[in-house]
């Protein structure tokens, strides 16, 4: 699965170390050392963006560690195995249609900063 070049370039502004990881008919976007919003601990970690429907969510953002944030989140994915690594994700539904990859990433990261 190829993503539009301009969207990939836009996404790189949020994380310069960007690669593609293909697994099971899905191409994930791997963001190495993604900087997280203020108040998060750790301040950065690796992340995996799945821009397509998965596990009942329109899109999903996975993290290499469980991140603590100002608002407690429901980390309903623990040790999900993707690309031969273990990943974590909290329940956060991004429902806006037709988002670019960068907009999708930002919408997911808002999950740390918004109460709900």
């Amino acid at each position: 699965m190829d993503y539009p070049k301009e969207q990939v370039e836009e996404l790189k502004r949020y994380c310069s170390k960007l690669s593609a990881l293909a697994e099971g008919a899905v191409t994930f976007l791997y963001l190495e050392g993604l900087r997280l919003p203020t108040g998060c601990n750790p301040q950065e970690c690796d992340a995996l963006l799945c821009p397509v429907q998965r596990e009942g969510y329109p899109s999903r953002l996975y993290f290499s560690v469980m991140v603590s944030s100002p608002y407690s989140r429901n980390w309903n994915v623990s040790n999900a195995r993707i690309g031969e690594r273990n990943w974590f994700a909290f329940s956060w539904r991004v429902t806006l249609p037709s988002l670019t990859l960068a907009q999708m990433l930002v919408s997911h990261l808002e999950g740390f900063a918004k109460q709900k």
Partner: protein
């Protein structure tokens, strides 16, 4: 007069004993289903095992955990230990690599197997095992049972074979996004009913599939199998979802998607 331990299974073929002994099998999950599988594999003559389970024996396991005793529940014996004991009692020269952890914590030994038995209790667990088996080219045989409803309760279960290059658990209609999502939303929900006899049916069928994969004794080339167990009717039948399958090739796993994941710079 005894004619040799494997004399009664000579119908499997003249080289079957050697073929079975040279095959490396994994059993992921050594609970109700996995303990049956391990016992049967040991009886048949398998010599090379990779087994995973991070749990201990509890009293509530004793209604179904093959090889476990009351003393094991008191002693909180690791299920891994039970499995190894069963294997070594029948095959003292077996090579058993056992891991008291989730397979995801030590995935490399799994990749040396030719057949992986998934005896786990979640859709997520099955999904991840199947991905690993496709990536590292291993036959995956999945078993599972559940009891749901009441008035009367319904016992259901499945035996699925998912082979590299053939239809996967999504293709045959067993694994769906809805099931994974629903399971994720029930995160942390309590333990489910389990009894020994469905596990026995499913484990035996799974082991039979494995022996056929190795020896080819039935002369049937199976790329996929999806059998549904109805514990109330006491039947094990091909899933009705297979009647409507119009796909010839799996769309969920690309044939190129093998080996260690490679990150492609964008």
């Amino acid at each position: 007069m005894s004619r040799g331990r494997y004399s009664r299974q000579s119908f499997l073929g003249p080289n079957s004993k050697e073929m079975i002994s040279r095959t490396t099998v994994a059993v992921v999950g050594l609970g109700g289903g996995g303990s049956h599988v391990v016992q049967q594999l040991a009886h048949i003559g398998f010599q090379r095992y990779v087994v995973y389970d991070d749990d201990i024996v509890e009293d509530s396991n004793l209604n179904r955990l093959v090889g476990a005793t009351s003393l094991d529940a008191i002693a909180e014996t690791p299920k891994l230990h039970i499995a190894k004991t069963v294997i070594y009692a029948l095959q003292p020269n077996a090579a058993v690599r056992g891991f008291a952890c989730r397979w995801q914590e030590k995935p490399e030994p799994l990749r040396e197997c030719q057949i992986v038995f998934g005896c786990v209790d979640s859709y997520k667990g099955r999904h991840e095992l199947e991905i690993a088996c496709r990536r590292y080219l291993m036959h995956y045989i999945d078993i599972g049972m559940d009891v749901h409803g009441d008035e009367p309760p319904v016992i259901g279960g499945q035996v699925i074979l998912s082979s590299p290059g053939s239809l996967c658990m999504r293709c045959v209609g067993f694994l769906t996004d809805e099931k994974l999502a629903e399971e994720a939303s029930r995160y942390g929900a309590g333990s489910r009913p389990q009894v020994i006899w469905p596990n026995g049916v499913l484990a035996s069928t799974a082991v039979g599939l494995a022996v056929d994969l190795i020896t080819g004794w039935t002369r049937r080339e199976r790329g996929y199998v999806y059998l549904v167990y109805d514990g109330n009717q006491a039947t094990l039948k091909e899933s009705f979802t297979l009647r409507n399958i119009k796909i010839a090739a799996c769309k969920h796993f690309a044939e190129d998607d093998v080996g260690d994941p490679v990150l492609i710079d964008l």
